[in-house]
């Protein structure tokens, strides 16, 4: 591993700060639920499908409970009541619940209440077991066809049509891709529902739906068998439906998810409380399903300057790590995000990028890490851009990144052409092959530019963490400390979907996941 640069005590101090910073947020998380969390609960019970006008049944049911002011008891409780009212299917449960004025339903006796909860718990336990069986199937395939060497080469498909995406994903896998990301349709993060079924029209990407996940995973299973090399699939658990997407992805055996504790707040202007509550349940699901999360710190340095804001990336990574650990994720599941984004017109940028990537590696030795390519300073001169991407390939293999999103030479122009992916995969394979192990051959001098830069970034990162501890996360976000974006606790989209838990709040999935 490159450098100490900083002492183990310093790293431990940063972790302790992150713990102090996130603790108050967990009070918020423990006292509230959201419409999206409750919809996830219903999905896990098998409430799938859409009602009149194409609205997902889980939305119809949860909106109904929310409007009646009873969602604070948990959708699982009302699901149980619907079963007691004689519902034999999810659709009937929705009908039952929408037919009765809920506040007029007589309260259950303590015995009845306990019996109902036992019954619902048993159903939840079976549903968790079924999820585990599906995850086991995925893991068996991974064992049968081992993945390629790291850094795992990650590429994006984005046609808008899931069937075209399948063709492009297969082609990318054949060209050497280890991870396929199906980028989502523009603005899906702002939809307060998950679209249903296979989709063939999207803008800037393809809608994330459970059916699309299934179609793509099955195609990649098939391709993995042909190539005798397991090809991973990822999507985006962000926006207003973080937890629902996490569930759909887990159920359909996805391998990774973009999932960041703060990204929605900063970059999609989703309400802060909503995001913190949703991210927790989504991460509990990822932990259970063995999904590797990818955090989004790379985004900070596309809005703020990558040189000046390098410390915000480090500070946020510790916060994201803490949120993840609290949700039960293990180090091997933490694709902590960062990127190669310093303005290439500056001198020494290869050294500066190495410094930053080495510092991240130093802080998170057991996490796979997710390395992002240059985007902000990409040029339409594709030959320059290709050379620029290749430098990121070198830094990725040098610092043992687990996952590397490959840069596309046409980044500044359009979604990648099939050949752009091929060219990127060929050159990344070459650089990885050529330089694997380079970190063990060269040690980094502790008095040089790389180490000194790492220490100065570190110092500022710790100061920012201290500020967040002293003033609180909410205040720090309010001041624009992350990504130069300022957000308030009650601003943004989705606050009306946050509901205080009542004393009788019931969520058997959360109970069981937290008990592990």
């Amino acid at each position: 591993m490159p450098g100490p640069f900083i002492s183990d005590e310093q790293v431990a101090h940063a972790r302790a700060l992150a713990k102090d910073i996130t603790e108050p947020i967990f009070q918020l998380i423990d006292q509230n639920t959201t419409v999206s969390v409750e919809r996830t609960v219903l999905r896990w019970f098998g409430v799938d499908g859409v009602g009149a006008m194409g609205a997902p049944l889980v939305n119809l049911m949860v909106d109904r409970l929310h409007a009646a002011g009873v969602l604070g008891q948990g959708a699982a409780y009302w699901y149980g009541r619907a079963l007691k009212l004689g519902a034999r299917s999810p659709l009937e449960a929705v009908e039952r619940l929408t037919a009765v004025p809920l506040d007029k339903l007589p309260p259950l006796s303590p015995q009845e209440d306990a019996a109902l909860k036992d019954e619902v718990r048993a159903e939840a336990r079976a549903a968790i077991e079924e999820l585990k069986a599906r995850v086991d199937r995925r893991n068996a395939l991974r064992e049968e066809f081992p993945m390629g060497a790291t850094p795992h080469k990650y590429v994006i498909v984005a046609t808008g049509n899931i069937f075209d995406d399948v063709d492009q994903a297969r082609a990318a896998a054949q060209a050497g891709a280890d991870v396929i990301a199906v980028i989502r349709s523009t603005a899906q993060s702002l939809l307060d529902y998950v679209p249903h079924g296979a989709t063939t029209e999207g803008y800037g990407g393809t809608y994330a739906t459970q059916e699309n996940f299934r179609i793509m995973r099955e195609a990649l299973d098939d391709e993995s068998k042909k190539l005798k090399r397991y090809v991973q699939l990822t999507n985006y658990s962000s926006g207003l439906c973080m937890a629902e997407i996490a569930f759909a992805a887990a159920w359909e055996r996805l391998d990774m998810l973009l999932n960041d504790a703060m990204y929605g707040i900063l970059f999609r202007d989703i309400n802060l409380r909503r995001t913190f509550i949703d991210q927790y349940f989504s991460r509990r699901i990822c932990a259970e399903a063995g999904i590797i999360i990818n955090t989004g710190e790379d985004n900070y340095i596309t809005t703020a300057d990558a040189y000046d804001a390098a410390h915000t990336v480090i500070a946020s990574q510790f916060i994201n790590e803490r949120f993840a650990h609290r949700a039960g994720l293990k180090d091997w599941q933490l694709g902590i995000g960062h990127s190669y984004e310093i303005d290439p017109h500056r001198p020494d940028t290869l050294l500066l990028e190495l410094s930053q990537a080495m510092l991240v590696r130093r802080c998170f030795p057991d996490a796979p890490l997710k390395y992002m390519p240059p985007t902000k300073h990409k040029e339409t001169d594709i030959f320059f851009s290709h050379a620029y991407d290749v430098m990121a390939d070198l830094v990725a293999v040098w610092t043992r990144q687990g996952i590397q999103l490959l840069g596309m030479m046409t980044e500044a122009m359009h979604t990648p052409l099939l050949a752009d992916r091929y060219v990127a995969l060929k050159s990344a394979s070459y650089v990885h092959r050529a330089a694997r192990g380079i970190d063990q051959e060269f040690t980094v001098r502790e008095d040089g530019l790389i180490a000194n830069r790492a220490r100065s970034v570190w110092e500022r990162a710790v100061k920012l963490l201290e500020e967040c501890r002293d003033d609180g996360m909410v205040a720090a976000i309010g001041r624009g400390r992350f990504g130069d974006v300022k957000r308030s606790e009650t601003g943004g989209k989705g606050l009306d979907g946050v509901v205080e838990r009542s004393k009788a709040y019931f969520n058997p999935f959360l109970e069981m996941l937290e008990a592990k």
Binding site: Y203, G204, T303, H345, E379, H414, Y422
Partner: protein
């Protein structure tokens, strides 16, 4: 206008007409595939076609890089584009010009409107940092730049611009599929015209799939495509303001303006 000289692409000597081309065909790599690539180039009117690389991009896709010659020649003298008459001003000189001739800060609003979440373009032009070593408008002391970010409704951008009596509004459209950028830009112009914005301020469109001609067709005052530097936009806006103030003749041209 005409009168030459005639120009052709330059490979390694004058008028050799050598060009490079790359493309993918949806067939497996084979001798037949290579022949198909060559034929394709010939059908484009190219001669001396050398398929330099035929790469298996996937089972049923082959990526080609070819070099070939073209006999197409252009009459340089007949190409009609506006003449450059004014030299583009640098950071300090432009600020000085605003201070002297406009004597107040130039107000600019920018946003990615509609569903577009990609702020990379608008950030490159407006943020402090700028792009490729060229400072963004926020850095200019004589500009007051407001970057509203992404997914801004057109109406919101228009309202904010009117409130502050903006001099210019920048609409950025980055991610685009099936020409959604055009639909959204058209909607913006319709709403802007209703609000009388087009008479009061300069309306600019930017993005990787945008060019000046398209922007004019859509009803903007100018369009900025890939490679645009913040200083290009800054100069354009300042000249527009000066023209609206009557301090500069209309129809003047300068280096870096949209074409």
């Amino acid at each position: 206008m005409s009168g030459g000289p005639l120009i052709r692409p330059y490979g390694d000597r004058r008028d050799d007409g050598v060009i490079q081309i790359s493309f993918t065909l949806p067939v497996a790599l084979s001798e037949k595939a290579k022949e198909a690539a060559k034929l394709f180039c010939q059908k484009l009117g190219l001669t001396d076609v050398k398929v330099a690389a035929a790469e298996r991009a996937a089972d049923n896709y082959t990526f080609f890089i070819a070099y070939a010659k073209t006999s197409v020649a252009l009459d340089w003298g007949s190409i009609d584009t506006p003449e450059l008459t004014i030299k583009k001003l640098g950071f300090d000189d432009l600020n000085a010009l605003i201070e002297r001739d406009i004597a107040r800060r130039v107000v600019v609003f920018g946003a990615c409107t509609g569903t577009d979440t990609h702020t990379v373009g608008i950030d490159a032009i407006l943020n402090m940092k700028g792009f490729a070593g060229d400072y963004g408008l926020e850095r200019y002391p004589w500009f007051e730049a407001f970057n509203l970010g992404s997914q801004v409704p057109n109406a919101e951008l228009i309202r904010r611009a009117l409130e502050k009596s903006a001099d210019a509004v920048l609409v950025s459209q980055v991610v685009t599929q099936r020409d959604v950028h055009k639909d959204n830009s058209r909607q913006f112009i319709e709403e802007a015209k209703k609000a009388g914005l087009d008479k009061k301020m300069t309306l600019l469109l930017g993005g990787p799939r945008v060019d000046h001609k398209l922007a004019l067709e859509l009803g903007f005052h100018a369009g900025f495509g890939p490679g645009t530097k913040p200083s290009d936009v800054a100069n354009f806006i300042v000249h527009q303001v000066l023209q609206r103030m009557g301090k500069e003749q209309r129809g003047q041209h300068w280096e870096g303006e949209p074409k």
